[in-house]
Amino acid sequence: MPTKIRIMPTLLYKEVGLVKGVGFDAWRRVGSAMQAIRVYNMREVDELILLDITATRDKRPPDFELVDELADECFMPLTIGGGVRTIEDVRHLLQVGADKIALNTAAIEEPNLITQIANHFGSQCVVVSIDVRCHAQQKYEVFTHAGTIATGRDPASWAQEVQDRGAGEILLTSIERDGTMSGYNNDLTAKVSTTVSIPVIASGGAGNYQHMASVLREGGASAVAAASIFHFTQQTPLEAKRYLHEHGFMVRL
């Protein structure tokens, strides 16, 4: 029996507060991380992703104290990303309560880090986050540094490489769809999910529950990440799961 579909609210952290943007730009403040975690905790969401979107740009390590405080209130699986560069960063984050670590820029620059973390802490705690832009003729390219630096890499072949190096999961984000609430990029998700055998979390573009159903069905995603839909609309993770359940998906209710 397959694992249940997971719905994962994503919290983007920048300097002092939570933000949400469109196309990796135009950031709006959306409140305090602690408050959001308490609410999601009460609502028993499946998992949370918390990404520090300026750590890499500012050449900062992750804010371990902040993660420590947030993780203390978070009794659900928590993925932390942003600014993770060394195995010591990973050790420290796991110690303060992270369950999984998302690597993005560091995975491209130092792919061996994926293997080191997987060998020491296990594949299950390595999530490789892949940010993708779509060029003309559905040609995709992986970007790093919060979507600002092109790598020349194809997402499916990069996904295959990170799986071979020991990644346990892929967080796949469409940069164009991010924050638009116009639907996930199902084509991109399908290209990656059919290439790898590890779970793929689709991200970028959720605007309603139908978008989630379609990326799960057509994109072969194992989980959906979403931010704007929960920040800016009345839609909730629980209602999303009820909708998916009615449409034949296995969810935890």
Binding site: K4, P77, N119, Q124
Partner: protein, 205 residues
Amino acid sequence: MNIVAIIDYDMGNLDSVSRAVEECGGSPLIITHPHQLSQANRIILPGVGSFKDAISNLHLRGFVEALAIQVFEHKIPFLGICLGMQLLATTGWEGGETPGLGWIDGEVQRLIPTTEDRRIPHIGWNEVHIERESHLFKEIRSGCDFYFVHSYHFCPYNSDDIVGRTPYASGFASVVQRNHIYGVQFHPEKSQRIGFQVLRNFLTL
């Protein structure tokens, strides 16, 4: 109040277990040295990572004999979580054949994907079907969802040691028990209300 020793052997994620124990009314004590074990009347062995590294770290820190004394001579209730459950086995195969603690006979093998369940690691919420009565699952109905994240699973030789099973990749033992030694493959500390009930049951043994 129950003092719960949480073994720190450099295998990650102690803080969540410690916070969850606190929320469930226990008094967590993260310990790095075996001599601190005598202060506790419950022991939790958490852990994520590879079987081989984990056993080697437990040996290096002198925990293997010290834990056996507490568990077998002083009958202190013991709970292994995720890798901590797998370490109860006789043998593990992750990172090469490695002897485990050997407290519950069995082996730890890699999950084998099936056509329906082709994604490994097994990550996410899945059901635990209760096969026999256990205090650990008091007031928890069969079929509840818990949070899993693992690529290997414990195969006990003796089916009497299995309390619950999970239907993924042809099914595996997700809860084991022999006397006052318990193991769960899922993460109770991350399974919210239902996970806390498991921890509370462990505290009220």
